[in-house]
Subunit: 121 residues, 2 copies
DNA sequence: TCAATATTTCAATAATTGTTGTATAGTTAA
DNA sequence: TTAACTATACAACAATTATTGAAATATTGA
């Protein structure tokens, strides 16, 4: 991942409105939501939501697909995982022994998102 | 982690200057760097660096410690891990089966930061 | 085709953030 | 205690981002 890609992701999620939109879409999973549903859920003017969605699509943290007259938005988890990998990669370069104890936590068994390999296959 | 904490972290890392500072400090590990060393490494005016460091300390992505007349800064990896956990937690809530395939990647064996448990102990 | 609906674009304005130089405060060492 | 050094605070200005309403674009269904 390039530096500009990372800062663009950070920038888009630095807004409370956009973080709300992102988390809402994450909760919806693959189903996603159309713009009007997002606006209703978060009580946002359509114009303002459109502004923020444009930023999020540009940062590739959400995807958009036309569905007739509707636009369906979905969270792009893959992009978030690439950002995490980018940060993880940086943190270990040179002296991995310093951050390994900390970095084991997102992979710990108690995390519902990172099961041990033998549990997923 | 609270929403405001997350947006503050995203905001502080949304600046190219601050991401440079963060990654520089991450590379230094526990040793960290004093402000003047950071300014020299990144060729920044002291005033401007001070402005950005203040933001990063406020977001708790770096820590600061007085050392005589110097101020030593260090990356706070724990805070980054909490942010990752916060995002990971959100992404799996409700329908974890949708994001599990994606989320296994940062735990993959090829990642130098997330070795399998049997390799660390 | 035409009216209704969904969403975006545009323009105007408000609010926030970034950069620089100068001044200030604290620390060190002679 | 004084001169040199490190870093931050402040003020001014430049640049960017956020919000809103009005207008435009595109799709649907009668």
């Amino acid at each position: 991942m390039e530096k500009n890609t990372a800062t663009t992701i950070f920038e888009t999620l630095s807004s409370g409105v956009r973080l709300d939109v992102y988390r809402l879409l994450v909760r919806q999973g693959k189903a996603g939501l159309v713009a009007g549903e997002i606006a209703a859920a978060l009580d946002l003017p359509a114009t303002n939501l459109s502004f923020h969605l444009k930023s999020m699509v540009h940062a590739n943290v959400v995807t958009v697909e036309q569905e007739g007259r509707y636009m369906r938005y979905r969270a792009n988890l893959a992009q978030m995982l690439e950002l995490i990998a980018y940060l993880t990669e940086e943190c270990c370069e040179g002296n991995p022994e310093q951050c390994l104890p900390l970095l084991s936590s997102p992979c710990a068994p108690e995390s519902s998102c990172c099961p041990k390999p033998e549990e997923t296959q």
